[in-house]
Amino acid sequence: MRKRGLLAAVLAMSLLAGCGSAGSAASAGGSSAASAGSASSTASSGASAASGDTVKVGLLHSLTGSMAISEEAVRDAEVLAIKQINADGGVLGKQIEYVEEDGESDPSTFATKAEKLIDEDQVATVFGCWTSASRKAVKPIFEDYDNLLWYPVQYEGMEDSDNIVYVGAAPNQQIVPAIQYLIDQGYKKYFLMGSDYVFPRTANEIIKAQLADAGLEVVGEEYADMDQTDFSSIISKIESSGCDVIINTLNGTGNVSFFKQMAEKNYTSDDYMTMSFSIAEEEVKTIGADILKGHLVSWNYYQTTDTPENEAFVKAYKEAYGQDRVTSDPVEAAYDAVYLWKAACEAANSTDVDDVLDAIHTGKISFKAPEGTITIDGDNQHCYKKVRIGKVNDQGLIDEVYATDDVVEPDPYLKNYAWASDVQPVES
């Protein structure tokens, strides 16, 4: 009996040790009896990121869970850029090797995986995140470890970090111009509707301040929960509010349900115009052009954007992933992020984070992107981008109805707008 108990103890401990050593073996580079399942794309060397003729980067997205709906396309764009750069000779002559981690739609998993990528895999930089919750969870990690995150999604602003480059739109490059466009078009009564999380809430604070400054009325503000599928009560509130335009900040699945249920009641863009900040070509494809046509969106890029770089990009993307796939602003921004990093490395002549950051701070890193030339602002590490208001057409793509003549300087804290002082953060 003693023997059996001891046997049990030994087996338990060896199992434990095996799993544990699998973790440290990945970084220690030694061989281990039970290093089961280390991802095949992880190099076994724990040496620094750029060794020999490869440089390691990390991709951190949600591949499972509710956020995976949006993030897979973004990851595909990053992989496309990496493959193109590798075919073209790599970065400073080194081939890019990417390590992919799954954030599982849980911000604390993002934190764990970010730390793993930086500390164990010793990547030179990370491209990733989508939700503000995941970005805010990993921000301190990138700052503490002094690594660099490239964040490809438009967001609510009020943030900057020395260790993040924001390749998506800041609020003055998406939200503010969109509202200004609506004001110029003559819309008087605004209904604000979004999912209940930080981007819609902050965006609505900005919008309310902007509308108050213009003397216009907000007739309703509603928040749906992220998984909500039944919008009947919100639609009744819209009907009784007498609004003429709906500012829509719902998330992915919510958009599908909302627009379908509006269509059930035979409402089109002539009855209630909507301006959406989270609907791009992917969502149009899912929801259907016949339901969405005529509605407005605000981004910096559309698949229909007319530049030679975009023609090549769309062609390459469709060839790699299928003719029925579409490109959208976050997809294009992720693609740009990888090329911007390459440009920064080449300007710094090194893949080391501090050298790359120094290059970025000169304010001269730019890339001839499918949306036009974008440049990283050396002060706040956001990008100079053009603003484009679009209208959904009946082929399921988005046409540009308005664009700024030139790129707009990013102003994440809305310092240049007097009415925005209430929205700005208090914490230093």
Partner: protein, 301 residues
């Protein structure tokens, strides 16, 4: 006035959706006492089957018959989820009778597998079905519009209730089902093949879930998370109504649906969820057996 009518209709509609998703649970949870945490995934499977049938009609059949895809989808999703339910019962559930808690946990594992299967087969992007022509748009009476697919769902629920009630009480299958559930040894000694009845009963409950999924496909996007959105509300509705009681679950879903819509009217939907859950749990303290409980002198039913 029109706001009140619209709100009442919305409440009725939400109740019918919850009821439709819960009818299958009445059979599996209420009667067989099997907690099927994968019930939500059967909803999802029904919805995806609808999508596949629509794709088939779009690509291989002339446009004139496109609208027929929906009745076909109803039948196909019923059949597919029935078969899947039988398979699940044979492989997993049959080992777990009498072990309620274990059936809950094992079916949770199944639901993880089914969700990942959906992601592997259909990708992580959601898909969408176009409502058939006869269900698009709505019925306009004065200033109020009642959308056709919500009316359809209400009718489908009523029809399902009638069918389930008829099957349970009038058909010989229903009699055998109830016999096996009430007293298995005597039923077996009467010549009823109890294992087969178990399998068919569970399949029937799952098929009702598939049917519900087919209707849910009309309302929103279809992705691997479809089932997760409904599972808590369905279970709590069945518990509220009094497990195993058809009338109870109807009343339960009306309570949940209407109270959610009314609270949402005054606050936001997140607060409404929280408040409705707390109210139901408070109600269960007063009446732990649910609204309609089977009165028995046994300590454990």
């Amino acid at each position: 006035m029109s706001t009140i009518i619209t709100t009442m209709f919305n409440g009725l509609s939400l109740s019918s959706i919850i009821l439709l998703a819960s009818i299958g649970l009445i059979i599996t949870f209420g009667l067989m006492k099997v907690i099927n945490m994968a019930h939500g995934e059967f909803l999802m499977i029904g919805a995806y089957v609808t999508y596949l049938v629509q794709l088939f009609f779009q690509n291989f059949l002339p446009a004139a018959v496109f609208d027929l895809y929906y009745p076909v989808a109803l039948v196909v999703s019923f059949a597919v989820t029935f078969l899947l339910g039988c398979v699940l019962e044979k492989l997993v559930i049959s080992h777990l009778y009498g072990r309620e808690v274990d059936s809950l946990l094992a079916t949770w594992g199944i639901s993880l597998i089914l969700m990942q299967l959906a992601r592997t087969l259909f990708g992580t992007q959601g898909v969408n079905v176009q409502a058939p022509g006869f269900l698009t748009g709505g019925l306009s009476i004065g200033s109020v519009t009642f959308s056709y697919n919500r009316i359809f769902i209400i009718c489908l629920v009523i029809a399902s209730l009638i069918i389930v009630s008829a099957v349970l009480n009038k058909s010989s299958f229903g009699k055998q089902m109830r016999a096996v559930i009430d007293n298995r040894p005597i039923a077996q000694s009467m010549g009823i093949n109890s294992r087969r009845i178990d399998c068919l009963t569970f399949g029937f409950g799952s098929a009702l879930a598939g049917l519900a999924g087919c209707s849910l496909a009309l309302l929103g996007s279809i992705d691997s998370h479809l089932g997760q959105n409904y599972i808590v509300q369905c279970f709590i509705t069945v518990v509220l109504g009094g497990v195993g009681n058809l009338a109870g679950v109807v009343i339960g879903s009306l309570i949940v649906g209407f109270s959610t819509i009314w609270v949402q009217f005054y606050t936001s939907s997140n607060i409404a969820n929280a408040i409705v859950m707390v109210i139901i749990i408070a109600f269960l303290q007063v009446k732990p057996e649910g609204i309609f409980s089977r009165k028995s002198r046994a300590l454990d039913d």
